[in-house]
Structures are given as structure tokens and as C-alpha cells.
Symmetry: C2
């Protein structure tokens, strides 16, 4: 009887532990989702600089994602019907990761090197409709 | 001396095999990148249906990515400064995966259920500037 009680106590303790750990994991995930920066940058490039701009924009995304832990996604696309229009999907882990990204050599090289090529830049800040589904899409989440 | 020749032949054969395999892997990756469909859907929703639309759009992305091997990304975002504007980043493995997605029950439920809520829909087709860098961003690539 005494053994049975011990066993029940043990099982209950184990269940509490698992539930508590799960809660903590969920909480961490929620915090992570809350602090995400998600954005689409819309860029129009001057005609005469298009090829040069494309080459510069091509490299900076991959380099940032590879080198910076807090850069989840920098995904530049060229709009098919408007080749001078570039859209970049950007996701940073948090404000600190974004600020740190702005200071990197690769970003500064891109930014300073392309300033004169950019006709307009609009940063469209967004929030994800289903942040909990992002883990199955993005490698680093 | 004979053994040494055999060894050299063996090493050369192994090198050729590895190089050949690598070439084939690269070729497969290139083919995969070439056939990708990448797009941003831009949706404006009628004021009175906004909450209802958000709830419907929230679910369909996660469900598609979870259930359909060829859906790499359906990532809906609400524009912070224009809450009635939704942008959805969509990536399908190829045309077949996209067509198959259009036939699924979850997509049809979303599509038919939200038709009257949508004021405008624009599908902005794009091509990725750095397809080779997508593997480090998207879970399924």
C-alpha cells in the first residue's frame, strides 16, 4: 500500500514536472514570437543601376542569415512584372538583433554601396497572423 | 609498385565518384530552385469582415505547410499601419504543388469562406534574388 502511494506520488510529480517544463517552453516560444520583428522592405531601383543593385542585394541576405544568429530571414525577391521593384522579407529575432545587424560590415557595405542606386525605400512593418506556425516554415525558429 | 598503382586508381575513382555525386546534388538543387513558385499576395479586406478574415487566414497557412509537402511557406502578415491590408508570402515547390494546394479542402474552405470579405487581391509574382541562400532560411528546402 505504502509502495503504491509512493508510486502515485512519483507519477504525479513527474506529470507536474513535464507540464511545468512544457509551460516554460511555451512561454519562451511566446516571448520569442512577441519580440520578433517582421517586415517587407519595398525598394525601387534606378534603371541604370539595376544590375549592380541586384548583385549587391543578392549577397547581403545570405551572408546575414549565415553569420548572424538573430537574423531569421532576409529574403530578397524581384517582382516579375516590375523588374525595378525589389521586395525583401525580413525577420529579426528581436530589436537587439536588428540593431546589431545594422552595425555589421556586410550590411554597411551593402547600404553605403547602394544608396545612390535606390530611388525609393518603404519599410512595411507587419505582424504575423499565425506566429505559432512560423516554426515549421523558418529554419532558425 | 603494382599495389601503389591500384591504390592511386582507387583514390582517383573515389574522387570522381564524390565529384559526380556532388554535381548531381547541385543539379537537383538548381532544378528545385528553378521550379519554385514565389509570390506575395496582397489582400485588402472590407472593414466589417476584418476579424473574421484574420481568423480564417490564420489557420490556412499553418495547415497547408503541415499537411502538404510541396508548400514551403504560407506566411500571412497584417500591415501595422494599414490593418485592413494583409500580405502573404507564398512559396510552392513547383507548379504541381501549387495546383494540388488549390484543390485541398482547407484551401477551398478558406477561399470560399472569405470571398465576400476580400475587397481586392493582387498576386505579385517574384523570383528570388539568391535562391541558393533559401535553404538556410526555409525549413523544407
Amino acid at each position: 500500500m505504502c509502495d503504491m502511494r509512493k508510486l502515485i506520488t512519483l507519477v504525479l510529480a513527474a506529470i507536474s514536472f513535464v507540464a511545468c517544463t512544457q509551460k516554460s517552453v511555451n512561454k519562451n516560444m511566446e516571448q520569442q514570437q512577441d519580440s520578433l520583428i517582421t517586415r517587407i522592405a519595398e525598394i525601387e531601383v534606378y534603371d541604370q543601376y539595376l544590375d549592380e543593385y541586384l548583385a549587391a542585394a543578392k549577397n547581403v541576405g545570405g551572408e546575414s542569415v549565415a553569420k548572424e544568429e538573430g537574423v531569421i530571414c532576409i529574403f530578397p525577391m524581384q517582382v516579375k512584372d516590375e523588374p525595378k521593384t525589389i521586395r525583401i522579407v525580413e525577420i529579426y529575432r528581436d530589436e537587439a538583433a536588428y540593431k546589431s545587424h545594422l552595425q555589421t560590415e556586410h550590411f554597411q557595405t551593402y547600404k553605403q554601396g547602394t544608396l545612390h542606386m535606390v530611388k525609393s525605400l518603404r519599410l512595411v512593418d507587419t505582424h504575423p497572423l499565425a506566429p505559432e506556425a512560423m516554426e515549421q516554415i523558418f529554419e532558425k525558429l
